[in-house]
Amino acid sequence: MSNVAPSLPPLDITRAPEGGAVGPVQSGWRLAVREFARNRLAVVGLGILVFFVIFCFLGPLLYHGDIISTSLSNTDLPPGAGHPLGTTDEGFDELGLLMKGGQAALEVGFFAAAIGIGIGSLWGAVAGLAGGILDSVMMRVVDIFLSIPFLFIVLIVAVKYGASVLGLSLIIGGFTWLVPARLVRGEVLTLRVRDFVSAARAAGATRWRLIDRHLIPNAMSVIIVNVTFNVADAILAVAALGYLGFGLHYPTQDWGDMLSNGIQYMQDGYWWLVYPVGASIVLVVMACNLIGDALRDSLDVRLRRR
């Protein structure tokens, strides 16, 4: 034909075209991870979270600060030799307390979020798939629980049952599942009209198999984003409970409890009792929020940069 550019070679279908190597197959998750890694703030957030996990759980193996026996000759020492972050009014080492308190905060945070997401996804998926009366009733139950101010109901139950890590996680998780339930139900409503669900149904899949193998894995992006925000909220809730005095007590430590002990000495200028703990809480919550924001951006296909 006359309008073919003369510089192009004749088409040779037996060889791969020029122009670069063919990369490995990119699955959706790989692309999301790559997008996540491009977001520098998110990587910083992930780094902060990993640092705190290592600091709180492996730190006590390396640094033996005394947090069990009181030592009245060592009370309220400022940061110095032997005590990098000073001591409290009972002679406990502040850095050791920070590590131990972080263990409780992180444990409750992750466990409560896991419970919340577990119950919430199932609830939402069942409601979304069932439709009709069952859906209305289940969503009304979610509305009912959502109307109760979260902190109040958690405080009331924690007064009686909240003195352990397991108790706190169950209580906080028991009121965190509501928002994931709504989100997963929305996703399932979108997903259940898709062809792969019809195909699975035609192949004889039971409703349970549909939920387990098809709906929840495809709603996973919403679930993952929500989990990170739930961890942040749970850590804030544990800190608030501890501050008000209804969290964990000696010998388990808890950042909120440490803060409430520390403020008594603010006017004396004992800043090391307050600011390291507060900064730790803020950093961990901020890290979770950063990761959650970045996950939301990277798992949303429309926002991806090519």
Partner: protein, 315 residues
Amino acid sequence: MTAYLIRRLATSIVVIIGVSIFIFLLLHTIYPSPAVDILGPRANRVSIAAWNRANGFDRPWILQYLHYMNNLVHGNLGYSFKVNQSVAVLFEERWARSAYLSGISLLLAVLIAIPVGIFQAARRNTVGDTIVTSAAFITYAMPVFFLALILIQAFALSIPIFNFEASQSTSLWVVIGDWHSMTLPIATLTLLSVAGFSRYMRSTAIDTLAQDYIKAARAKGLPERLVLWRHLLRNACLPMITLIGLSIPALLAGNLITETVFNFQGLGLLFYNSLSNVDYNVLLAYTLIGAILTIVGNLVADLALTVADPRIRLA
């Protein structure tokens, strides 16, 4: 639209009934009767059972629930056996102060968050936007009590401008006029709300600025100031209405912690004292009223949105 409103109202009533049953049941399980408080901690089981029978606490829970709700709608919120006062009187002393604290914080937060959000959207990705977004992000991640502590340390202890304790006066007018004591508590709640609102406002404003009618207005030659004022402001405020309605539970919770930190004699401090005293009648009444306020707040926000946004009204 009327059908939608009626359906919404009916749903709210169902939710209110459901919430009240759940809260009553929960507190009834934790605290079946005040017999131990009245008879003393060493009362034996026989006298407790006799007292329960004499005062109606051994009836099935549904009857007790109906009795409680009947009292509630007649204004009798129960009796606090720890403080020896009726709960309604306790609330009556304090609600105006708490309402003032929450109300003024909400108002200031909205007045600050809207211009800040629009500024962030208009100056997107510049230095100004980055600073404000980072500040909002850090404040959002802070627990309320830590923010309050930082403010107290900075503005009441190191540089003694304000008082580290809120106003202890019982007169609402004195409280309103007492800027020396009330500024820090109001600032704490306001900053917390602004952090949450401005994140949302920023993303709404960015979405609105991408709309075609903004492009048309700019193409017509409208000055940028008028574009922001006449078009962006009105359309970006709509999600704020929903957000205000949804922020009532957060406001109540923030109130609780702020009043505890600043020792402000409001409903939040009453709740905290009742928790420490294990005064379940006050807790029950407070949680119920909080839940009802949340539901009513959401309903009002929905209605306000329907009124403000013609697209919903005419749909």
